[in-house]
C-alpha cells in the first residue's frame, strides 16, 4: 500500500514540478509573475493533441517541435511585450502590478485564441495507456514515461544552471540584477532567455500532461494557480524548492486520498501550503528578505 502511494505521488509530482520550475525561473530571473503560464501549458497540450490526431506524431516526438516553438514565441513576448514594462518600472512593486496586468491580458488573448480554434469542448486522446508494473504494482505507462521525461529535463536544467557559464550568469541575475550588470552580464538578454526557458519548460509539461489528462481551453488558470502555490511554497527563484514542494504536495494529495478521505485532498494540499508559510514565510528554500 505504502509503496503504491509513494510511487503514485512521485509520478504526479513530476508533472507539477516542470511547470513550477518554469514559473519560478520566470519570476526569479525575469521578475515577471507570469499569470499566462497555464495557457502556455494548455497551448502545448492542444499542440500535442493536434499533432497526434492529425499527423499521428506522438507527444514525445512532438516535444521536439513544441518546446523550441514555445521558447521562440516567449522570447519574442518578453522582448516586445514585457521588457518595456521592466524598463519603465521604478521599483519591484510597480513591476509586479504591471506584470500582473500585462500577463493577465496575455492570458485572455491566448485563451481566446484557443477558444476560437477549439471551442470549449473537452479534448483527450490515448497514448501509452497501458499498465506497467513497478515494485509489484501496476501504473499507467504514460504517467511513468511523463515522469521520466520530466526528470531528465529537470536534471538537464539543474546541470545547465549550475555547471555552465551561462547558467551561472542567469543565477547571478536572479540574486542581484544590478550587480550582475556590473560584471558584464547582459541582464536583459539573460532575463529574456530565462523567461523563454521557463515557458519552454511549461510547454514541455503541457505536452506530457496531455498524454493522460482530459483538458479544455478554459482550464489553464487552474494549473497557473497550482504552479504558483508550488513556487511560493518552495521559495521564489530556486528551482530546487519548486521540485521539493511539488513532490510534497503530490505526496500529501496521494496520502490523504488513500488513507484519510479523497474529499479532503485539495483541502490538505492548501493546508500544507498555508502551514508551510506560517512557519517559513520565505518558503522552503527561499532566502530571507
Amino acid at each position: 500500500m505504502l509503496t503504491t502511494i509513494l510511487v503514485a505521488s512521485v509520478l504526479l509530482g513530476g508533472a507539477y514540478a516542470l511547470m513550477a520550475m518554469g514559473l519560478t525561473l520566470q519570476y526569479g530571473v525575469a521578475r515577471i509573475m507570469n499569470l499566462a503560464s497555464g495557457e502556455t501549458l494548455m497551448g502545448a497540450a492542444f499542440g500535442s493533441f493536434c499533432l497526434f490526431t492529425a499527423l499521428q506524431i506522438g507527444p514525445l516526438l512532438s516535444l521536439v517541435l513544441i518546446v523550441p516553438l514555445a521558447f521562440a514565441i516567449n522570447w519574442a513576448i518578453y522582448r516586445w511585450l514585457l521588457s518595456p514594462l521592466v524598463r519603465r518600472a521604478k521599483n519591484q512593486g510597480m513591476l509586479e502590478v504591471d506584470s500582473i496586468l500585462a500577463t493577465f491580458g496575455l492570458l485572455f488573448v491566448i485563451e481566446g485564441a484557443m477558444l476560437a480554434g477549439f471551442g470549449g469542448n473537452y479534448y483527450s486522446y490515448s497514448f501509452l495507456a497501458q499498465p506497467v508494473t513497478l515494485l509489484g504494482h501496476s501504473f499507467g505507462l504514460n504517467r511513468v514515461v511523463a515522469f521520466g521525461v520530466a526528470a531528465l529535463v529537470a536534471l538537464g536544467l539543474y546541470f545547465g544552471l549550475n555547471r555552465t557559464r551561462y547558467g551561472t550568469a542567469i543565477r547571478a541575475v536572479a540574486v542581484d540584477p544590478v550587480a550582475a550588470g556590473l560584471v558584464a552580464i547582459d541582464v536583459p538578454r539573460a532575463a529574456a532567455f530565462a523567461f523563454a526557458l521557463g515557458s519552454a519548460l511549461t510547454a514541455c509539461g503541457g505536452s506530457l500532461l496531455s498524454m493522460f489528462l482530459t483538458f479544455n481551453a478554459s482550464m489553464g488558470v487552474v494549473f497557473t494557480m497550482k504552479a504558483l502555490i508550488i513556487v511560493i511554497m518552495g521559495g521564489v527563484g530556486d528551482p530546487r524548492g519548486a521540485v521539493i514542494a511539488a513532490f510534497l504536495l503530490a505526496l500529501v494529495e496521494t496520502l490523504v486520498a488513500a488513507l484519510v478521505d479523497p474529499g479532503l485532498t485539495l483541502a490538505a494540499t492548501y493546508l500544507l501550503f498555508v502551514l508551510t508559510l506560517l512557519f517559513r514565510p520565505q518558503g522552503l528554500m527561499g532566502r530571507r528578505a
Partner: protein
C-alpha cells in the same frame, strides 16, 4: 437600421396582440441564448448547449422558419442572439435581462447548468418568458415549477436517476448476474451530491452492501489512489458520479490497474462521443454511464446525422444533447400551435401539450419531464439506453468484459 428594426418589432408586437398585424411586418423571430463559452462551464456547454442551438437554428431556417399564423400563415426565419455568461451566474442574470429588455428577444433559450438556470429563473418569470431548463439535475423540479410556473425541468433529478440505476442493479442481482458488493464514489459538486443522495437510500433499501462511499473534490487530477483502494475491495459494481475529466480519469486508471468489476458506471462524460473516440469502442464495451437514448430509432439516427453535419463532424452526446434539441423542438411546436409570438400562450401550451421530438413523444407533468433516461451502456460502439427498463428501445444490460 437595427434600431429601426427594434422599433418596428415593438410596434408589430403591439399590433399582434390586437390581432391586427400585417403579414409582412415580422421579418424574423428573435431567439436569445446565454450560456458559457468561457470559464469552467464552457466544456459542458460546448457539448450539450451550443451545438444543439446551432443545429436547431440551421434546421429551422433551412425549412423557412417557424410557421406563424399571425404573420399571414407564413414561415418566419429565426435570428439568434447569443451571449457568453462566462460561467458566472451574475453574468447569466445580466445576459438574460439584456436579451429581454435590450434585444427584446421573442423567446429565450434556458442557460446551461443548474446554478445558472436557478439564478435566472426569477428573470424569466419577471418578463414572462418560458424557461425550458435542460441541463440541470435537480430533485426540486416540482417545487421550482410551482415557484416559477413558466419554468420547465426536463432532465430529472438524482432521486430518479440514481434510483433507476439501483433498480437495474437489483434486477441484475436477482438474475444472479452480479453480487451485492457496491463501491461508490462521487464528485463533491452539485451533480455528484444529488446523485449520491438518491443512490444511498435506494441501495440500502435494495439490500446492497456498499463497501466504499466517498467523495473527491472538483478538479482532482490523480484518481489512482481511489481506484487502487476500490480494486482491493473487489466490488461487483463500481459507481462513479463523476464529471467529464474524472470520468476519463477513472476509466484510464481502472484499465491500467486491471480493475474489472462486472458493472462499471461513470457519470457525466460517459455518454460523450469523445469518450469512445479516446478509448476505442472495444475498450469501453459494457461501460455504463449517466444518460441514454433510443439510439436505434430513426429520429435519433437522423438527429445524429444532422448534428454531425452542422457541427463539423462532431456527434452529439447520448444524454443531454438530444434532450436539449427536443426542448427547442418543443418551443417551435408550441409557437406554431399558438400561431403567434404570444409568450403567455406558448408557456401554457408547453405545460399542457404533447410534443413530437427526437426523443419521442414528450408531455410534461407539473412542468417536469417524467421518467427520463437514467442509465445507458456502450455496446458495440453505440450508447444504448438501459433504464428505466420500460422505455421504448431499452436494451438489456451486458456484464462488462475485462478491459481491452
Amino acid at each position: 437600421m437595427r434600431k429601426h428594426l427594434i422599433g418596428t418589432l415593438a410596434v408589430s408586437a403591439a399590433l399582434m396582440a390586437a390581432g391586427l398585424v400585417q403579414a409582412q411586418e415580422i421579418k424574423s423571430i428573435k431567439i436569445g441564448t446565454a450560456a458559457a463559452k468561457t470559464g469552467p462551464g464552457a466544456g459542458g456547454a460546448g457539448v450539450t448547449h451550443w451545438p444543439n442551438v446551432k443545429l436547431w437554428v440551421a434546421q429551422v431556417n433551412k425549412g423557412g422558419g417557424i410557421l406563424l399564423k399571425s404573420a399571414g400563415n407564413k414561415r418566419v426565419p429565426v435570428e439568434l442572439i447569443e451571449y457568453d455568461d462566462r460561467s458566472s451566474n451574475d453574468d447569466a442574470v445580466k445576459a438574460i435581462e439584456r436579451l429581454a429588455t435590450q434585444d427584446k428577444a421573442d423567446f429565450i433559450i434556458a442557460p446551461w447548468g443548474t446554478g445558472a438556470n436557478l439564478a435566472t429563473a426569477p428573470v424569466f418569470a419577471k418578463y414572462g418568458y418560458p424557461q425550458i431548463a435542460v441541463t440541470s439535475v435537480t430533485d426540486k423540479g416540482p417545487e421550482l415549477a410551482k415557484r416559477w410556473p413558466n419554468s420547465f425541468w426536463l432532465l430529472g433529478g438524482g432521486q430518479h436517476m440514481a434510483g433507476s440505476l439501483v433498480e437495474l442493479l437489483k434486477k441484475m442481482n436477482a438474475e444472479g448476474k452480479i453480487g451485492k458488493k457496491v463501491a461508490m464514489v462521487h464528485v463533491a459538486d452539485g451533480y455528484g451530491l444529488d446523485m449520491v443522495a438518491g443512490a444511498r437510500p435506494a441501495l440500502k433499501a435494495a439490500g446492497f452492501d456498499v463497501v466504499y462511499d466517498k467523495s473527491y473534490p472538483l478538479g482532482t487530477q490523480d484518481l489512482s489512489p481511489i481506484v487502487n483502494e476500490i480494486k482491493g475491495l473487489n466490488p461487483d459494481a463500481f459507481i462513479a458520479f463523476s464529471y467529464p475529466p474524472d470520468t476519463f480519469g477513472f476509466t484510464e486508471q481502472s484499465k491500467i490497474a486491471g480493475f474489472n468489476p462486472k458493472v462499471f458506471y461513470v457519470g457525466v462524460g460517459g455518454a460523450f462521443p469523445v469518450y469512445r473516440n479516446k478509448f476505442s469502442a472495444a475498450t469501453i464495451e459494457g461501460v455504463m454511464g449517466t444518460g441514454g437514448w433510443d439510439v436505434a430509432s430513426p429520429k435519433i439516427q437522423d438527429y445524429i446525422k444532422a448534428h454531425k453535419e452542422a457541427n463539423g463532424g462532431n456527434e452529439p452526446d447520448a444524454w443531454a444533447s438530444s434532450v436539449q434539441y427536443a426542448a427547442l423542438e418543443m418551443l417551435q411546436q408550441a409557437i406554431e400551435r399558438v400561431g403567434a409570438l404570444d409568450r403567455a400562450a406558448v408557456t401554457k401550451e408547453l405545460g399542457s401539450g404533447e410534443f413530437d421530438t427526437v426523443i419521442g413523444k414528450l408531455k410534461l407533468k407539473g412542468n417536469v419531464r417524467e421518467n427520463p433516461w437514467a442509465v445507458g451502456q456502450w455496446q458495440g460502439g453505440s450508447f444504448y439506453g438501459l433504464s428505466p427498463t420500460n422505455l421504448p428501445g431499452a436494451h438489456t444490460p451486458i456484464l462488462k468484459p475485462a478491459w481491452k
